[in-house]
Symmetry: C2
Amino acid sequence: MTSYCTATYRAFDEKADFHKKAAGIAVGLTVGSWTELPEAKKKDMEKHLGKVVSVEVHEPEADAAPGSLAAQRYADIKIAYPDANFSRDIPALLVTAFGKLSMDGRIKLLDLDVSDDFRAACPGPKFGIAGVRERLGVYDRPLLMSIFKSVIGYDLPELKEQFYQQALGGVDLIKDDEILFENPLTPIEKRVEACIAAAREAEKHTGQKLLYATNITGRTSQLRAQAKKAIAAGANALLFNVLAYGFDALQELAEDPEIDVPIAAHPAFAGAIYPAQHYGVAPQLLLGKLMRLAGADLVLFPSPYGSVVMPKDETLAIADALKQPEGALKSSFPVPSAGIHPGLVPVLVKDFGRESVVNAGGGVHGHPMGAAAGGQAFRQAIDAALRGEALEEAANRPGNEQLKAAIELWGVKR
Amino acid sequence: MTSYCTATYRAFDEKADFHKKAAGIAVGLTVGSWTELPEAKKKDMEKHLGKVVSVEVHEPEADAAPGSLAAQRYADIKIAYPDANFSRDIPALLVTAFGKLSMDGRIKLLDLDVSDDFRAACPGPKFGIAGVRERLGVYDRPLLMSIFKSVIGYDLPELKEQFYQQALGGVDLIKDDEILFENPLTPIEKRVEACIAAAREAEKHTGQKLLYATNITGRTSQLRAQAKKAIAAGANALLFNVLAYGFDALQELAEDPEIDVPIAAHPAFAGAIYPAQHYGVAPQLLLGKLMRLAGADLVLFPSPYGSVVMPKDETLAIADALKQPEGALKSSFPVPSAGIHPGLVPVLVKDFGRESVVNAGGGVHGHPMGAAAGGQAFRQAIDAALRGEALEEAANRPGNEQLKAAIELWGVKR
């Protein structure tokens, strides 16, 4: 039985025959030529031939806003590529389905439906949502992650103090800044030691566990060694700039049995690929399905409300791709990020549900009573949201003065 | 002395204060905050602070065509990032200069001017134009490369025969199809042996050397081993789908002293990144400067004339970036590709010069007298173009019936 990976494209053109274009893709990106093959050869080649699954042509709607999708002529085209044509790795899949084709006019890759066989070659997240929860012992609420405020140019005691203040607020995860690379002030092993020591210290006060996602950077062939060095120094989670290295580098981190800590995928550079209407890769594939397939336990992406925004339907589609049933793959935590403050927690919980991570930088560090109070305000907001209580009401509960101060500063979004 | 890598962006916005935006980038992507720092700390942090180099605001021109660049409000912004902030690798550079920022509204990365210090950490092409010419012993004309017609589903004898026919036409390089991965019919070592044997055979007839660029694929950590296996089997050049793995994977191939053969970079997936007006990375950076910095000896990109097209100014900018003086970096061969036939050779030579590679697939294999005649027609066209002779005239020279047949079929472009 021939098995296939199916790609969905949106191709734009004012007058193209999209059925012809689809047929051209199915042949051109697989066996190269078909009609001129001798009949005997066709029999051999049939198992390598791409198939047009569907072509749905959308004609421009007369009353649509100029520039809107509805105003354009396009077709959603599904092509099935035989697994026999490529090796079981994401680079081979991407080159097959969107290598040369990416350069062939206005075309965007919307989705990739991989075969069971291909999926079986991808380990997916080692921990997933359930595994990360298990590590933390937190099962009944969205997790809370915080981000260092400023890291470049700061030394170990300064970084440790920043870490400690965030940790005191009751956050579940603290992540490195994605722009923190190997540097003489805070080299990775020393940084891990300092931050994990601060975490232990804070745990005595908060009574809760904490994961520190250390940024794994440097040369490609050294990434796994770098990760193991961090883990040996005590790191209990990793951060990785996946798109600077390719999905396969993430997969190799995730597959390594010695790298037994959750991996958070940072979306750095993703904005070069997902936002254009006519080009690139749809966010739910780029930051959703592929990140999960390659093994991210948590995936950061722009939230629909904050400072760096993504349309809400796209963020929900990413979260769906990270969580919906997908063979034996574990699910990944969606982490809508950037510009998050406690007043956004009710909409975050409503939109992304309990199985998500509330992630904040400025919303923690910018709290008028300090970073520890910032984390506490978030935790109070999360509790209120889960109870279905308005933040303004929750803010008046005794002990919730951190939340009160936060919503006085930032307000509450509905 | 602080040294810097300088990024040039084009940011689009109807009403933004671009000077404020630039200042926000310079601080936000480096030290994180500035004005609120104590004076003593500012002194420490100065060497980590990004600098706004320039902001050139373009106001919409009233009479510009809707959707054109001239019709839009944008600013070209240059920001200098201190080298002290990131490690000397391309992933760190990209994450610093266009990590989070890529997701922050409509913004395109146009250029990266790396410091001498950063450049010194990048080996660039091991061979470059001069080194590739030396391997071939060809100094006085553009090189000719051909591409297999169909490869998937074909076995070794079939591949060898295709190779041999192309080789007979006097091509300088033959490249694998970029969608040919490890497969049971033509595994890499066997494929290299068969093709190199065919090359030796053809060399007896043509009296010229031939490079076979074998496609290096598979898992990231195995790429170098795969390359060495191919080289051990006789491969004298490599093809690599750079963007499926990241620039650093190319750099690690190029840096490896045991990988002592030229590397051709394939642009597969590049169309997901360069074409959008408001997003992504400009082609001369993506396929020009960065490919060269990472060590590509030859770089393929869409030609301005063929079946998969790129605007001419962009293709010329890529070629410029590959060839212009850049410290101690060797230059890389531009390889404008896709839909090239002999009738395009005069414009190719006019536009890209002698230091370029004419690359054809269908234009070789589709020749009415066969693939060998296809290569010959190209060589005849190249000779004519260098003599400044019209192809129609050259076609009437004795012995040039291959060129005659080619231009009868495909015509001549002026």
